[in-house]
């Protein structure tokens, strides 16, 4: 039996980060991974989808941007096998990097399945057999998996989750996406660029409902429509029938049953935490009805030596939240007084254009009791760099409190995912609009839109025409 101070279960962006931090802090640490190091994020999630999105983006540029710029190329050909292989090479590089980091920090890696025996013991089952690990502390980073809906069980060949969609062997002709959330939209957008005819069935009235700023998702919806992606709202997928190589999908729309045909069905209706693994019960930890492990603000479960991080412990299911928790929990185990203590967890959606947000939506700010909000947008169309990149769709929207303290930033547009970090820092630092407006942003860059949006929210941006928000009081006249 091997003994450890900490055993981390799961090596996604929560688990591997936690393990490295534990090891850095001098704890004897092990990590257990049943599939590939790096988890969903590096292998079948964030990273491979970004590779495919990048490939599709350049293809789209070649086809639709180059002619206007005066570059003539013959019609591009897609070697899809090579594209997928390249995507895989990206993942392998990242996963290999994780492996090196873990080894370099002297984390003991177990490739196998974890069976929980007690709050201090885990049995690892691998090709080498079974082994019991004894540990003082446990960090559960079991992650999540795509939700399956009845009638559309995944075979990951034709009826696919994001995992299967990222690993197709050919570009399908027609694809139906069930669920217009961020994963569905990201994959649908790039598939359309690669040439697939895409229909999205969405149960709600709008895309990214409740997730993104409505103004932002509207820009994406418009561009999707322009690119030829069909979105059917208020549609509920019911059944599918396979005839030959073709699927007929039945969905309910306004009380009526409608059908449509496709070669592939992508189901992206959300993800569920992996809190339903049977042996977890042996730990004595509390798990709620949705499968989330119940934790406190330190991510500690009711068993005080067991922590849960990442998708397993609650929304939002985002890799960067998991990593932050991983570092935090390692420090807590080491005795540092910490809790999950951030003002905002930013979110990014790699649609075309990208959406990124930090802080509160207008509705959230109002619900928290802020009054007389200051809200304004600055469009990318008024930014020199955006115009020169042919990426003028979108804007930066800022929401500030009455005293000009920045509450929320919502960006839709080019490089929104990279621009948002400035907003995160500003919100965490408690910045006011003036702090952003008075910081010199280099020209010509997309980043200037942050400065200009702050100016716009204060009522006096330079590069858009604004009605003055407040008329200056007239100068007092002398009284005789």
């Amino acid at each position: 039996m091997q003994k450890f101070d900490v055993v981390v279960v799961g090596s996604g962006p929560g688990g591997y980060v936690a393990a490295i931090k534990c090891a850095q802090l001098g704890l004897n640490t092990a990590i257990i991974e049943k599939e590939k190091l790096g988890g969903v994020c590096l292998n079948v999630g964030c990273i491979p989808s970004k590779a495919m999105i990048t490939a599709a983006h350049w293809l789209d540029k070649v086809e639709h941007g180059f002619p206007e710029m005066g570059i003539e190329v013959s019609k591009p050909k897609i070697d899809f096998k090579k594209m997928v292989a390249w995507k895989q090479s990206v993942c392998d590089k990242m996963s290999g990097g994780v492996s090196q980091l873990l080894k370099g920090n002297k984390v003991t890696i177990f490739a196998g399945t974890a069976e929980f025996v007690s709050s201090t013991q885990i049995e690892v089952q691998s090709t080498k057999g079974k082994e019991i690990l004894e540990t003082k502390y446990m960090i559960l980073a079991l992650g999540s998996r795509p939700i399956q809906i009845p009638g559309f069980e995944f075979d990951e060949k034709n009826i696919v989750s994001s995992t299967g969609a990222l690993d197709l062997d050919a570009i399908p002709k027609r694809m139906v996406t069930i669920g217009g959330g961020y994963i569905g939209l990201e994959i649908s957008s790039y598939m359309k660029k690669l040439g697939t005819e895409v229909t999205i069935l969405e149960a709600a009235d709008s895309l990214l409902a409740g997730v993104a700023d409505p103004d932002c998702s509207q820009v994406v919806a418009r561009k999707l429509k322009k690119s030829g992606v069909k979105v059917i709202h208020q549609a509920k997928a019911k059944t599918q029938k396979k005839t030959g190589n073709e699927y007929e999908i039945t969905y309910e729309l306004n009380g009526k049953m409608e059908t449509l045909k496709a070669d592939k069905i992508l189901v992206t209706v959300g993800r569920r935490p992996n809190g339903d693994q049977p042996s977890l019960k042996k730990l004595g930890i509390q798990i709620d009805e949705r499968g989330f492990v119940k934790v406190d603000a330190q991510r500690r479960t009711n068993v005080k030596t067991i922590f849960a991080i990442g998708d397993l412990c609650g929304q939002p299911m985002l890799a960067h939240k998991a990593s932050h928790e991983g570092v935090m929990v390692a420090e807590i185990i080491k005795g540092v007084p910490r809790v999950f203590d951030v003002k905002t967890i930013p979110a990014v959606v790699f649609t075309d254009p990208e959406i990124a947000s930090a802080g509160m939506l207008e509705s959230e700010a109002l619900a928290k009791g802020y009054k007389n909000l200051k809200v304004a947008k600055f469009p990318f169309a008024a930014n020199g760099r955006a115009v020169s990149m042919m990426e003028t769709d979108g804007f930066v929207k800022m929401i500030a409190a009455e005293n000009d303290v920045l509450l929320g930033v919502h960006i839709v547009g080019p490089e929104a995912s990279n621009l948002i970090s400035e907003a995160v820092l500003a919100i965490e630092m408690g910045a006011r609009l003036q702090d952003l407006a008075l910081s010199i942003h280099p020209h010509p860059t997309l980043g200037e839109t942050m400065m200009e949006a702050a100016e716009a929210t204060l009522g006096h941006a330079i590069h858009i025409i604004q009605k003055p928000l407040h008329t200056p009081a007239s100068a007092p006249t002398a009284v005789k």
């Binding site: 042996k282 004595g284 009711n302 068993v303 005080k304 007084p337 809790v339 203590d341 928290k368």
Partner: protein
């Protein structure tokens, strides 16, 4: 061989001291353990000894300079041995162990499995945690009675805390065997509320640590982080999971690094008023809290720290600056200032005054003079008053106590360490006689004389000024009829004794006789001690003073 003598640690939290004077000069030959300098710190003036013998080569500081701990203060030429610079052990106090942090030391708690979990046995349902800082609740009513069959998650009782009334569910099903409390009882978190006989089903029961009593109560407070519930087995002491709520739900403005600093200092940033732009809590705002925290942290060993006191620091300026002299507030004076401010801030003081006929006491003391002289000491009134005080606080234990504000507990002390205020050229110093109840009047006299002398000479050890359980101030030896002293926090009372005065009295027979009277005051912490209790205390105490023979009754 040259040897660098470094300033040793001078006590807990003491990082520097002022050089009062050198006791040696270059060229002097010193022996190991010989004192070489007098250093004044916040707490006391101490003599620093050298650890090596040799001839002093160089003194590195001048009197009046402030020296950091670990700085080289002098070099000496040793007669032999290797070059080595060592830090002598502290002359006054051993460096104290690092104060415990709120963190979780890297030693996992023992999560023992409660034996109650055995299949088909008896299950004890404990009162789970009811919310942050809530340690008990009043049982409003039972929702079940013995013999009832209950299902898991069924509410079994209504408990009222000072935050809300909550229904407490059971985590297991079974038949109610016994209710351990009555409606109206105050139940501590983790107490067994009721017992159930569970009906078999070993799988459910075996679930292991903590799950037994982990019944989630109704949400007490919406923004409250979900905290680990009760956890029947785990030892809460080792893994205190109390922490201040995250800032995500509050409107507090502070940078991430400031928030982290606050957490490391165990300060709830949500409760700190920010002085920065738009109400930002700045790093300085947090550090200011530290100042007030450290007052108590550096206080007597029994002191309890309270994290959130910040005193205003008004400046002073006038147009008479030319006719004014400014002197740094430091050393013992600074310490006195901090302690007094702290005590006055925390304790609601009240003082009761009375006079007593001490004619017999005076005679009693006179009669002992010779005995004392033979024993090589002299007896003052103080040791006699101490004996009367100890006898009285045995009768009224709340006078020998402290309030732990943080834990919301009263600490009754079963030992008697008497502090007595001593007037010294440097200011007020309170030496402490440890275990005063175990010492004879003669022993007390000797110790009082010794401590007083060394207090005047600035030679007290830090330990000798710590740990009093109650204090006596004898301002009467200087003058004054009555005073209203300040309690030496975390003590809860201070006894004042004043001048003895002659008084003529008319007896019932019409004769004029001479009597001796003395005034006493008892100042008490009104949080713990009611006025009537203090009055009874003073009466009982004065009874002993008036008839010193009564002290015989307390002998054992």
């Amino acid at each position: 061989m040259a040897f660098d003598l470094k300033l040793p640690e001078l006590g807990e939290g003491v990082t520097e001291g002022e050089l009062i004077k050198w006791l040696v000069k270059p060229g002097d030959t010193v022996k190991a353990d010989q004192s070489v300098a007098e250093i004044m710190t916040d707490k006391a003036t101490v003599e620093v000894p050298t650890t090596r013998s040799g001839v002093i080569k160089e003194l590195k500081f001048k009197a009046g300079e402030v020296i950091k701990v670990e700085s080289t203060i002098l070099t000496l030429e040793e007669s032999g041995g290797a070059i080595k610079s060592t830090t002598p052990t502290a002359p006054a106090a051993k460096p104290a162990a690092a104060p415990p942090t709120n963190g979780h030391a890297f030693n996992p708690p023992t999560t023992t499995v409660s034996a109650n979990g055995a299949a088909g046995g008896t299950f004890e349902l404990k009162l789970p945690e009811l919310g942050e800082g809530v340690t008990e609740g009043e049982l409003i009513k039972w929702l079940v009675k013995p013999g009832d069959t209950v299902k898991p998650d069924q509410s079994i009782a209504e408990i009222m805390t000072d935050k809300a009334t909550v229904e407490v569910p059971t985590s297991k099903g079974g038949t109610v065997k016994e209710l351990k409390f009555k409606a109206g009882d105050v139940v501590k978190v983790e107490s067994v509320l009721l017992t159930l006989s569970t009906d078999g089903g070993s799988t459910a029961v075996k679930t292991a640590p903590a799950s037994q009593a982990t019944t989630a109560p109704q949400k007490v407070h919406a923004s409250q982080p979900e905290r680990s519930m009760a956890a029947a087995a785990s030892t809460t002491a080792a893994t205190s999971t109390t922490f201040y709520p995250p800032v995500m739900d509050s409107k507090v403005l502070a940078t991430p690094s400031t928030r982290r600093l606050a957490r490391e200092m165990q300060i709830d940033i949500n409760g700190v008023s920010g002085t920065g732009l738009a109400g930002r809590v700045t790093r300085e705002d947090i550090l200011k809290q530290l100042d007030s925290v450290s007052i108590s942290a550096r206080g007597p060993a029994t002191s309890t720290t309270n994290g959130s006191i910040s005193f205003p620091k008004p400046g002073y300026s006038s147009n008479m600056a030319n006719a004014e002299e400014r002197v740094a507030l430091k050393g013992i004076r600074k310490k006195i200032a901090e302690n007094m401010q702290m005590a006055k801030h925390i304790i609601p003081h009240f003082t009761l005054m009375d006079e007593v006929d001490v004619t017999e006491l005076v005679a009693f003391r006179e009669s002992m003079k010779d005995v004392a002289e033979k024993a090589g000491t002299k007896i003052t009134y103080l040791p006699l008053v101490m004996k009367a005080l100890i006898a009285t606080i045995r009768e009224f234990p709340q006078f020998n106590a402290s309030i732990d504000d943080q834990a919301q507990e009263i600490v009754y002390k079963k030992y008697f360490n008497l502090g007595f205020a001593a007037d010294t050229p440097n200011g007020l110093v309170v030496p402490v006689i440890k275990g005063a109840d175990q010492k004879s009047v003669l022993d007390l006299s000797k110790e009082i004389l010794d401590l007083s002398k060394r207090a005047r000479d600035n030679k007290l050890k830090i330990d000798e000024m710590k740990g009093a359980t109650i204090t006596i101030t004898n301002i009467g030896s200087v003058g004054g009829t009555y005073a209203t002293p300040i309690i030496n926090h975390p003590e809860v009372a201070i006894l004042g004794m004043y001048k003895i005065q002659d008084r003529l009295e008319l007896t019932t027979e019409g004769k004029v006789i001479s009597k001796k009277y003395m005034n006493f005051t008892i100042t008490a912490d009104h949080r713990l001690i009611d006025g009537a209790v203090a009055a009874r205390f003073l009466k009982s105490f004065l009874g002993r003073i008036q008839k010193p023979a009564l002290l015989m009754l307390d002998m054992h």
